[in-house]
Every structure is written in C-alpha cells, then in structure tokens.
Amino acid sequence: MDIEQKQAEFIDYFVKQAENQKGSSLVNVIVEATSHPSLFAFSEILSVPSIIQLQGTEFSVYIDVLRLFAHGTWSDYKSNAGSLPPLVPSQVRKLKQLSLLTLAEVDKVLPYDLLMVELDVSNVRELEDFLINECMYSGIVRGKLDQLRRCFEVQFAAGRDLRPGQLGSMIQTLSAWLSTSDNLLVSIQDKIKWADTRSELDKKHQKEIEDRVEEVKKTLN
C-alpha cells in the first residue's frame, strides 16, 4: 500500500481533531500530528479554520511548526530554533525524514556527505541505519545505497506538501512530459511505418530476385 493511502486515515483523524478543538488544546493536536510515525503530510491540517485562527495569538508559533513540517527541513529548523518550540525526538526524526524527501526532489543521487550534513549524522553506519530503518522501511523512499560512490540513489520518493509557487513548475514539467511523450509516440509511429515500408521493399526485392532466378533457370533449360 503506498504512503498516501497509508496516511489518508491519519490526515482525516487529525483534521477532525483540529476542527473540534480550539486555542491551547490545538497545540497538543499539532504536536501529536508532527510526531505521528505514519504521517508525512500537513497541508490539510494547516488549512483547518481553527488552526488558521491561531494566527496572532500566543500559539501562532505552532502554525510555524506545522508549516515547517509541511514545507521545511531540519536545517530550516536549526536556523530558526530560537523562535520555535523545542522538538521531541519523534518530531526530530520526522523532520529529518521530510528533509530527505526535499533533497530527493532536487536530485536522484544524494551524496552521503550532503546527507550527513543535512541530517546531522556523524558516520556512515548511522546514516545508513537511518536511511534503511526510518526511510526505506517506512516506505517513504525506495532506492539503493552505494558505499563505493558514497551516495544514495533514489528510485522513488513520496511527495511532500507543495510549497507556495511550486505548482507552476509542476505544470511546466508535466506539459514538457506531455510534449515529450507525444513526440515519442509520433517517432514510434514513424519507426513502425518505416519498418513496414522497408519490409515491403525487402519483400518486393526478394520477389524480383526470385523471378530473375526463375528466368535464368528457364534460359539454362
């Protein structure tokens, strides 16, 4: 079952939780959601009215936490730690998992050195254990670890919540896909036509040769 199906029920659960709570009790909902081991999507929760109403209150910092988990990375958290509440270990782990997804958006081959910096990991064993246990085995990424080249090759990475302004580039990429696919189909059609034509010509040529052979045989007889 893919990650979106797995987390759909948790999204619904926390959206309902948020809809039924107000003020300070929303803080627990946010902390619980950003700690849940199977939840990697936060846009739906961010758009719940009662959450939005936290803006401007003493709890607005928890909207920043939700935004951080929706779009941010571990590095973002470290550079804003002063203005954000401390994270519990399960939140730290999740933010690092989400950071990997963001890194995988940029490139499919992630160097260990980059990962160790971005994920605050001190050695290869620890990095690989994190990638194996917390990322590959939790289903958010699939890929291969290459120790010789010291990199992680990503084959699949779950999608994160879209950052504002990302939609445009997605549409661009999709339309590029579309035209490439159309061109591909056209060129495949051309190749098929070319192959058919060639085989016709070869058959005709084959026939001519055979006829010539027959003639020569008759002449000899």
């Binding site: 893919d2 290869v124 064993r125 690989e128 194996i132 590959m136 085995y137 291969k144 670890l145 290459d146 120790q147 010789l148 080249r149 090759e153 084959q155 699949f156």
Partner: protein
C-alpha cells in the same frame, strides 16, 4: 516370542511412565518385527516403528528415530490407519527439523497443519496442534538457508491468512519483506526455538546466528549496490572476514547474486533483473502511478 513381546511392551509402558523415553524405545526395538516364526500384521509393525521413533524423538535422538521412520516408510503407504499415518508424518517432520533440513521439515509441518479433519479414529485434532505445526513450519523456513527457494516458501506462508494470527507473524512478515532483522527481534524469535535450533555449529556460530546472518546479508543485498566488508561486518554484527566468507558461500551456492573485490574489500551486489528489465519495470511502475492519480482524479470528479 509372544511372552517376550508382552513383557517388553509392559516394561516399555513403565519406562514411558517414568519418562525414560530412550529406555522405553530400546525395550520396544528389541521386539523382532521381522520374525519368520510369527508373522506380525503390517499395521502392528507400523505402529511399533512409529511408537519407537516418537520415543527416541522425545530424547531428541534423531538418528535412532530415523532408523525406525525409515522402516515405517515401507509400511505407511498401505496403511489405512490415518492416526498412524499422521504420527508418522509428525516424526518425519521432526527428524528433518533436527537434522537441520529446515526447508524439507517446513513443508512437512505445513502439510500436517493443513489437515482438514478434526477427528481421526478416536483421536481429536485440536486447533492448537495445527497451529503448532504451522508455527513449526514458519520457524523452520526462517531458519532455512536464505535464498530464492526459501523466499518462495515464505511467500506461501505469508499469503496463508492463518499465519497472520500466529505469534511468529511479525517476524515472518519482516523476513518475507526481506528486511534486516535487528538484535531485539532476533532475541524474541530465539525465545521459542528448540535446543537443536540454537545448537552451536563447528564455526562457533549457532544455527540461529547463521540463519539470521544469511538473511540479513540477503536483505542488505536488496538495499545496497555495494558495501565494504568493514561496514557489512558492522551491519551484521560479525567480523568482516566472517562476513566475506558467508557472502562468498552464498554467491557460490547461487543464493545471492554478486561479486567480491578482495583488493578493495568490497562486495558488489547484482540485481536479479537486467538493467533493461529494471528500466521497463520502473516505467511500468511510473505509468501505474500515473493511472492511479488519474483514477483518483476521476473518482473525485476532477
């Protein structure tokens, strides 16, 4: 001979009551089942062979037990006594298990666990016994040498919904999904193993160690393109030379695809599938995901 037979059976009963299993077995095995003086009918012979084998197995004596299951194997096919046949099958499975022919044992346990009847003769077959047989089947498969054959048997068990109710299911799932097993999981699995399944092998590893190391090595081959022996040893919790030795054995026995670069002290894992096939597979996967998105969109009326 008649009197001797009766005395032997009586004495064997007494030894059995004292849980002196091997003495009871030896007492019964003194009965001359192939006597030319007095013909014994086949079902009597079969029942004695099975009884003696079961008694030896109570003392984990697979060698003597096998002697009598071999004798019984010539008699069992003509037997109409289902209870005896079942007991014979249990003995045969347990002997394979003790001889560490785990995959063969697993298949025999599995066959036993699939019995449909709940009453054979005047014997009742309770669910718990079948569950034990199923658990034994899964345990033996997990202990079997990691490789394609074991994966096929694991897949059968993983799809058998009876397994999902077993205590051993969580580890069956991880093994089936070819996940690396960590020490706490291995320790909890070890709790329910029999003595011979934790016995020490000549290379100073236990049967369980070997099974777990090979399993984790095969699981690592699905995650890594290549790995240094240093790191592989750290991952498996064993010395790097040992990791190299086990890896070379598995590659040699064609249970894992790869090659060893001793100069660099690296192992390079090969994929079962050719690159072109993988390419096809990735594109198929992509198209399926695209279809899933389109299906979701049409379901949502977008």
């Amino acid at each position: 001979e008649e009197q001797v037979l009766i005395i032997r059976e009586k004495l064997a009963e007494l030894y059995e009551a004292e849980q002196e299993w091997s003495k009871a077995a030896r007492m019964l095995s003194g009965i001359d089942l192939d006597s030319s003086i007095r013909l014994l009918d086949e079902s009597y012979k079969l029942s004695k062979c099975v009884k003696i084998a079961s008694l030896y197995l109570e003392d984990d004596d697979a060698v003597n037990a096998e002697t009598f299951t071999n004798k019984a194997s010539f008699l069992v096919n003509n037997s109409k006594q289902e209870v005896l046949v079942l007991q014979y099958k249990v003995c045969a499975a347990r002997i394979l298990d003790m001889k560490r022919k785990f995959l063969d044992a697993a298949l025999k346990y599995y066959e036993i666990s699939q019995i449909e009847k709940r009453q054979i003769g005047d014997e009742w077959i309770d669910e718990e016994a079948l569950e034990q047989a199923l658990t034994a089947a899964v345990t033996c498969t997990i202990l079997a040498p990691a490789g394609p054959q074991r994966s096929r048997v694991l897949a059968n068990f993983y799809k058998d919904e009876r397994c999902s109710k077993l205590k051993i299911y969580p580890i069956l799932e991880k093994v089936y999904l070819e996940r690396i097993l960590r020490k706490p999981e291995i320790d909890s699995f070890a709790e329910d193993l029999k003595e011979h399944q934790k016995a020490l092998l000549p290379d100073n590893f236990t049967v369980l160690d070997r099974a777990m190391i090979e399993h984790n090595l095969l699981s690592a081959s699905k995650l890594y393109t290549n790995i240094s022996f240093e790191e592989l040893g750290a991952l498996l919790g064993i010395a790097p030379p040992k990791a190299e030795k086990i890896a070379s054995k598995m590659i040699y026995e064609d249970r894992m695809k790869g090659s060893i670069d001793q100069v660099e002290a690296f192992i390079h894992f090969d994929d079962d599938k050719e690159e072109l096939q993988q390419w096809d597979q990735h594109i198929v996967g992509l198209c399926q995901s695209l279809n899933d998105v389109l299906d979701t969109m049409s379901k949502k009326g977008l």
